[in-house]
């Protein structure tokens, strides 16, 4: 049955949207990522206007990270002080990002920036993951585990001023690295409709050197708050959040995620990361093709004030 989306102003088949939400939810449950980086391009391929896709995906990630926060809250693996600092940066980033997105939209460049941003982001993250997971797989096969990274390696980050104690993470570091990290993720959330978990998680582990046990819960809390703020700000300033589309995507997503978690527990970490890397690179390649191949019509029309 077709369903009419009041904000996107188009008819879609609700089963396809439910399926997309479910598939992305499955993958996000399996790999432990929000899945915004997959959902936004999928919606754009389906024909949803890119600004509606970006804004509505943010609300989808709010729902999926809610479940994550609850699970980690109960296990007491959330560093609230760290999440607070990240969030302070995140809210600044989101406000600026939503404003930037409005400017880009008026200049007619939002579509290009979203696509090009995804190509760069997915290419970099996918490439790094592919490289890392292959090394890990090769090491596992030859029987020599990779040398563990030094746990307390001091880098330039530890020389910054305004230090603060993060009890849960057993860290005493400057507030600037998490503040800047939160800020970058906030901008990405607003412009590209991603939660930013795939940047936040490695950055917390390798740059901030937080214990892995609290990384997931803390990043879920940060993503929950930032995407909730993004949803409200996009709705208020760009009118691009489609609640009907969001509802169907979320229903599919939360169910898919539960099955994804079960499927993910049967695969090994390196194998999971290799699969995810291939998926990420494939989506990036598809978007790159869209930018490079001569379009069917080099003109495009945007109707104002509808």
């Amino acid at each position: 049955m077709e369903i009419y989306l009041p904000i996107a102003e188009m008819s879609v088949h609700w089963l396809i949207i439910l399926g997309m939400g479910g598939a992305v939810g499955f993958l996000s449950g399996m790999f432990g990522v929000g899945g915004g980086f997959l959902l936004t391009p999928l919606l754009i391929f389906y024909g949803i206007p890119s600004e509606v896709a970006v804004a509505t995906t943010a609300s989808h990630i709010t729902a999926s990270s809610m479940a994550g926060v609850i699970a980690h809250w109960k296990r007491r693996t959330v560093d609230f002080a760290m999440a607070g600092v990240l969030l302070a940066g995140g809210l600044m980033g989101t406000s600026i990002g939503v404003y930037l997105f409005k400017l880009l939209r008026e200049a007619g460049q939002s579509e290009f920036v979203v696509s090009a941003g995804y190509v760069i982001l997915l290419g970099t993250v996918g490439g790094l993951m592919l490289n890392e997971s292959q090394q890990a797989l090769r090491a596992a096969r030859s029987g020599n585990p990779l040398p563990a990274r030094p746990a307390r390696h001091h880098n330039w980050i530890h020389g910054l001023p305004l230090k603060m104690r993060f009890r849960q993470s057993r860290l005493y570091i400057s507030v600037f690295p998490p503040l800047v990290l939160g800020f970058i993720v906030g901008i990405l959330s607003a412009i590209m409709g991603v939660g930013g978990g795939f940047i936040l998680v490695p950055a917390m582990i390798y740059l901030l050197r937080m214990p892995t046990s609290v990384v997931m819960g803390t990043s879920f809390l940060q993503i929950l708050c930032v995407t909730a703020a993004t949803t409200v700000l996009q709705a208020a300033s760009n009118y691009t959040v489609d609640i009907m589309l969001a509802g169907i995507l979320i229903l599919g997503g939360v169910v898919g995620a539960q099955f994804g978690v079960r499927a993910g527990s049967r695969l090994r970490g390196e194998q999971l990361r290799l699969l995810l890397a291939i998926l990420v690179l494939a989506v990036g390649a598809r978007l790159l093709i869209g930018l490079v191949v001569t379009p069917a019509d080099i003109f495009s029309v945007a109707v104002e004030g509808q």
Binding site: M1, E2, I3, Y4, P6, I7, E9, M10, S11, S59, H60, T62, A63, S64, S65, M66, A67, I70, A71, G108, Q109, E111, F112, A116, L224, A228, T231, V232, L233, Q234, A235, A236, S237, Y239, V241, I243, M244, A246, G247, I250, L251, V254, V255, A257, Q258, L291, V292, T294, P295, D297, I298, F299, S300, V301, A302, V303, E304, G305, Q306
Partner: protein, 254 residues
């Protein structure tokens, strides 16, 4: 402006109107977009009435009926992409104001056989003659290039249609036209115009308004999103968090 033209025309030519009178109507004067809306079919029907003494006369000339349905006008930003360093980027933008966002024309024969270009242009009949009121460029060739881009884009989206054999005659004087209105048709006031041509001259014309609107849940969601945007955003977030929380509740028990 066209409505005024038609009114003036009717006032100036009472004799012709009396000789061959046009009566037309619509299947519905309101089209409502609901959640399972996939587009709908509007039927424009009509009859050509003529007095007995002109019957012989009508045998000699060629009679044509043209039906035009125009949607509300819109402001359109038309952008042209250019390849820069191998990548296609929008680099020129022209704003066209006053183009209808929906346009349908049906006729008994191809339009160029019915009337000269000048007449079609005056009434804006046909995809070649749908013109914006204003363009943000002084170069007429460029404005035309961008106007054609709008026509192409609208034709692809089934929002602009030219049906050269779309007028169906049920009898000598009775005709009917099926006008498809897709789900993507914009909301607002439309007009259905019926023209009677004889040997390339407009003999009679009639214009009827109709409305396309969202009703029910869609209408309420749309106005909620636009009139109370902040609360709408908050409501979306609350829905998302509730669904996320419910899912972890349900699946933990299962």
């Amino acid at each position: 402006m066209r409505a005024a033209l038609i009114a003036i025309f009717l006032a100036l030519m009472p004799a012709a109107a009396a000789a061959e009178n046009l009566v037309s109507g619509l299947s519905q004067d309101q089209i409502q977009i609901t959640s399972n809306y996939t587009g709908s079919d509007l039927v424009v029907f009509g009859a050509i009435e003529q007095s007995a003494d002109t019957e012989e006369d009508s045998e000699t000339g060629h009679r044509d009926v043209v039906v035009v349905v125009r949607g509300p006008t819109a402001k359109m930003d038309v952008r042209r992409k250019q390849r820069i360093a191998g990548i296609w980027i929008n680099n020129r933008e022209i704003t066209l104001t006053g183009m209808p966002a929906y346009y349908y024309v049906a006729s008994t024969r191809p339009l160029d056989k019915i009337a000269p270009a000048q007449t079609l242009g005056r009434y804006q009949i046909g995809l070649d003659y749908v013109k914006p009121e204003r363009a943000s460029t002084h170069n007429p060739a460029r404005a035309e290039q961008f106007r054609q881009a709008v026509v192409r884009e609208r034709v692809r989206g089934h929002l602009f249609t030219e049906a050269p054999a779309g007028v169906e005659f049920l009898s000598y004087s009775l005709f009917r036209v099926h006008v498809p209105v897709p789900a993507s048709a914009p909301r607002g006031q439309y007009t259905a115009e019926v023209y009677l041509f004889k040997d390339g001259v407009v003999m009679a014309a009639q214009s009827t308004p109709l409305f396309v609107d969202q009703i029910g849940l869609e209408r309420r969601l749309f106005s909620f999103a636009h009139n109370d945007a902040f609360a709408y955003g908050v409501a979306t977030v609350i829905m998302a968090m509730l669904l996320g929380w419910l899912s972890s509740l349900i699946f933990r028990r299962a």
